[in-house]
Amino acid sequence: MKKITLTLAGSLIALSASVTASYADKLTFYCSAQEEWCQLMARGFEDATGIDVNMTRKSSGETFAQIRAEAVNPKGDVWWGGTGDPHLQAAEEGLTEEYLSPMRDQLHDWAIRQAESAGNKTIGIYSGALGYGYNTDLLAANNLPEPACWKDLLKPEYKQHVQMANPNSSGTAYTTLASIIQIFGEDEGFEFMKGLHANINQYTKSGSAPIKAAGRGESTIGIVFMHDAVAQAVAGFPIKVVAPCEGTGYEIGSMSIVKGARNMDEAKQFYDWALSVDAQNLALQVNAFQVPSNKGAKTSDKAPDMASIKLIDYDFVKYGSSDERKRLLQKWDEDVSVLPQ
């Protein structure tokens, strides 16, 4: 039996030596932006390099969960897109790989700052400011005043008209909570959240769901990132975007390489490519209205003008750390979410 095996094996080795294996390079790509953008990035990278891309699209929270679950045995190579907090958290937990891309000198300062705050385990690829949008038809139908500030949302006439995501399940909503606290201070910030709670008709699970509901006319006001609201307006829904007058926080969409990636070289190749002007200009094709991190990349004229928005100095290190996050979420859970509406 064994002899047969050996002779068989021997002939196979001879065979393998004579045939030069053509091994297609490949990359497993976890994507947390919207579907079309993810598809476009995957196909764009394939076209640019000839490397086969396997793309999975999941929200940043889901992807983070998956990378954590797979930490012992990583399956993904690179994680692109989604709000920065889970990327920072992954860096903090050592789930992602440190990498200094040669493309760094082409990027905006905020993208580099994001990288440096995480020991270069992540990097900014786009940014977007927080705000809200409202359905103009419904607002008119209900004779409601046009809101312009965060504090406007506390008015009793908006009762049952405001929607936001649950900060426990959505990075967008956590950014909202953290921004409000940074704008008003912690005590007043929580008072604001309590007041807002009285007007909320639903805490959605996903971050951009509130503005989508508003677009379809299932809710009036949705607290979301402004570029998501713009996307709904461009898609044809009667949505008006508001940059709150008190100032607002913002997210830095990020990218990280999975620690122990099976295709490390390809992952780095993708990383460099994704920071290039060509790759970042792809966003315009899919109505993604974030501000790209490469200084040379184009910005859509429909995108919210970052210069005219009053941005706060968002402290990503403090509010991105898991301890602070846990503390704030627990406080929100215990003090705000249980109040009767």
Binding site: I13, G61, A69, S169, S206, P340
Partner: protein, 739 residues
């Protein structure tokens, strides 16, 4: 029964498994090949010496993975039985020892040594740091394990179990092992996860902290705040169970006991829940009754009130689930209502009971088991439902969605997911157990061999009118919802721009004809073909496992048969979300490492849908007289030959039913699938979720509509084929009799 003792030469099946063991050990790659199960690139990549692709024998020869070396002993042992008589007690003993040693050692080393060396701290404490690691099992290890298992069962058979029937013993052993591996093992793994603390040690206090959570058991809704998810799920499931039973009964009565003309159209309703992808009912309800829904706006205008978001929350989920699950209750009750023997009712009438008395005191009590069954089915389906609460739940959280968000949400709390899953499992298993305990003992049989040629009396007219009204009203409502689904797939942007367009179908399913052939350019093709492929692979396997199990349950008697039956039917009561979570926990690490592959999807479908195959098999096998088997066995066939040549051909309709059902179920499953899809293997339903999340209702509904028609075609094909098979069988019978 056939006698094995007279065989002088060693049975070829035994030789086959001995050789298989050696092939698995010495020729095939021992560990899982990373490029995928069907990729054979490893043949050209340094096989058999490269550590990644080497067979176990080569690894040991090169001084690697030495813990595999002891397997040589159980591989060599069965060589001793060659030439021995089967009646020799040594024959059985050696085979049992071989199987137990080999299988046991394989499992022990698989769990003991993982990706980071020893899995358990006490092993490291005992032997020191291993300094080596191993990945998941591959072809070699699997074939070796299978060989050991069947050597073991042959040993048991040789000792005289089940009349020494090798086929039956092996089938029982095989089913037990796969059900243990893919149902009990993941569930057990998940239960353990509920006790894990943040630093990885086990603690009972963690479990209680998560179990006693206010979000789970809170009763705040009694004074205006919110109730815990466990209560929400329970109230919802009871309400859905009750409503579906009442509606199902109304339908069944209309079909069997009224003069209603279009009964066949009503019967067609029963096929709906099987072919409806998740979400579409929820989406159609939003488009009809949401804040800006057509009906809501119309009625609000009519009455001059403001439209509200009444749909989001318990009312919406309740309506959607009732729509989805009423046909199931109907399906169950139609059989029961028809089964009540007319002679009983006629006897009551002869005794001068009026129609109403007959119905209340005779017909209704005899339907009781059916009613209980329908209620429990509605209860279990509602508990396990994932799609409708996701779309319509609003702030009304239920267990199945909470489990999902505990895993994928920013909170990422596997322990909480496991605790929630346990609560959900407790509810469904209690219902499942109640159903079996209650219905198993009482006899409500009224169909007997005695003359039964009566006609069912019509319903009393006081009952007939409300029943007809309810049933027809609900049927119209159902039809309206499905028409809305089709309409929704051809409008541009519902509610905003109602022009008719086919653009959603074009986006999803466009094709381009080029010189090289057809290019599938539509966005949905990838997930569509994956779904069809996975469903097509899973369907025959599901049917096979189901029918073999059914054969064992109906035709054989063996110790522990009841436990065996309970185990194989159990997966019906396990909600998909629980299966999904437990599969992730159990199969992401060696020894069975299959997350991210298509195999895990196939396996989850097999074990989700197996109970249906079993039920279908049992139902048709009990119609085949046992004398058929006996005559075959008397004529010298063994039980495998009997199964293959006599029973299987007569079971063709059951096989087809099981095939189509599992195919269709695999296409509409979502709750388990959403945890198990990966980059390469994205399924239609998870793609649809992505579109729904993205506010792209048009595409989601267009895709769902396409799926509905594909599945309708599959079901229709089944009707045609099964019909023909039955006719064929009758003519065969006829000719058989005449000769």
């Amino acid at each position: 029964m056939h006698v094995a003792a007279s065989e002088r030469t060693t049975h070829p099946v035994l030789i086959f498994w001995i050789i298989a063991g050696w092939v698995g050990f010495g020729i095939l790659p021992w560990y899982g090949v990373e490029d995928g199960f069907w990729s054979f690139e490893w043949l050209l990549n340094g096989y058999p010496f490269d550590e990644d692709f080497a067979p176990a024998a080569f690894l040991i020869a090169q001084g690697e993975k030495l813990w595999l070396a002891p397997l040589v002993i159980p591989l060599a042992l069965p060589l001793l039985v060659l030439g021995r008589l089967k009646s020799d007690p040594l024959f059985a003993r050696i085979l049992i020892l071989t199987g137990a040693l080999g299988f046991g050692w394989l499992i022990a080393q698989g769990f003991g040594i993982g990706i980071r060396g020893f899995t358990f701290d006490w092993l490291t404490a005992l032997f020191g740091d291993l300094g080596d690691r191993q990945f998941g099992m591959g072809y070699g290890a699997m074939i070796c394990a299978t060989a050991f298992l069947f050597l073991f069962t042959q040993g048991i058979a040789a000792r005289g179990a089940i009349n020494g029937d090798v086929f039956v013993v092996s089938a029982i052993g095989g089913v037990i092992v796969i059900v243990t591996a893919f149902v009990f093992f993941p569930i057990a793994k998940m239960l353990f996860a509920a006790f894990v603390t943040e630093d990885g040690s086990y603690s009972i206090t963690v479990f209680f902290a998560k179990f006693m959570d206010n979000r789970l058991w809170g009763v705040g809704c009694l004074w205006g705040a919110r109730c815990g998810v466990a209560w929400n799920s329970l109230f919802l499931a009871i309400a859905v169970g009750f409503l579906t039973t009442v509606l199902g009964l109304a339908f069944a009565l209309v079909v069997t006991r009224s003069g209603f003309r279009y009964k066949r159209a009503l019967r067609a309703l029963t096929v709906l829940p099987i072919i409806t992808p998740p979400f579409v009912i929820g989406l159609a309800l939003i488009l009809l009754f949401g804040l800006s829904g057509t009906v809501t706006v119309y009625i609000a205008d009519l009455l001059g009130v403001r439209p509200t978001r009444w749909l989001y929350g318990m009312p919406g989920v309740l309506i959607a689930q009732t729509l989805a699950f009423t046909p199931i209750a109907f399906l169950v009750l139609i059989g029961v209502v028809e089964g009540v023997s007319p002679s009983m009712e006629e006897a009551a009438q002869t005794l001068r009971a009026n129609k109403w008395q007959v119905f209340r005191t005779v017909s209704l009590p005899l339907m009781r088991p059916g009613l209980a069954n329908a209620f429990l089915l509605g209860f279990i389906e509602s508990m396990a439902d994932f799609g409708n609460p996701l779309v319509l739940g609003g702030n009304f959280d239920v267990l199945s969605t909470e489990i999902f968000f505990a895993i994928v949400g920013a909170q990422y709390d596997q322990g909480r997911a496991a605790v929630l899953a346990m609560v959900l499992l407790f509810f469904t298993l209690s219902a499942f157990y109640a159903q079996r305990a209650w219905l198993g003992k009482k006899s409500y049989t009224t169909v007997s061999g005695k003359g039964d040629a009566g006609v069912h009396p019509l319903m009393p007219s006081g009952l007939a009118i409300p029943v007809m009204a309810v049933a027809l009203g609900w049927a119209l409502f159902t039809a309206l919802v499905y028409i809305m689904i089709i309409y929704g797939s051809v409008v541009d942007l519902w509610g905003v721009n109602n022009t008719l367009t086919l653009k959603h179908y074009v986006t999803a399913f466009s094709v381009r004809f080029e010189a090289e052939g057809i290019r599938w350019t539509g966005a949905a093709w990838d997930s569509f073909w994956t779904t069809i492929t996975i469903a097509a692979i899973a369907a025959p396997l599901t049917a096979a496992v189901g029918l073999i199990t059914a054969y064992l349950l109906t035709r054989q008697t063996f110790a522990g048969k009841n436990a065996f039956e309970f185990g194989t039917m159990l997966s019906f009561a396990i909600p998909g979300t629980v299966i999904g979570v437990s599969y992730i926990l159990a199969f992401n690490v060696p020894p069975i490492e299959i997350t991210g592959t298509g195999i895990i999807l196939v396996i989850s479908f097999i074990f989700r849908n197996m109970p249906v195959g079993v039920r279908a098999g049992i139902a048709s096998m009990s119609q085949l007289d046992k004398s058929l088997d006996e005559s075959s066995l008397t004529l010298g066939a063994n039980s495998w030959q009997t199964f293959r040549r006599v029973i299987l051909p007569l079971l063709r309709p059951a096989i087809l039913a099981a095939l189509v059902y599992s195919f269709v179920r695999a296409m509409t499953a979502i709750s388990a699938v959403i945890f198990l899809v990966s980059a390469e293997y994205d399924m239609a339903t998870s793609y649809i979720i992505g579109r729904v999340e993205n506010n792209d209702y048009g595409l989601a509904i267009a895709y769902s509509t396409t799926l509905i028609f594909v599945m309708l075609a599959a079901v229709g094909l089944l009707q045609v084929v099964v019909g023909r098979v039955q006719i064929g069988r009758r003519t065969q019978h006829g000719s058989g009799k005449s000769t």
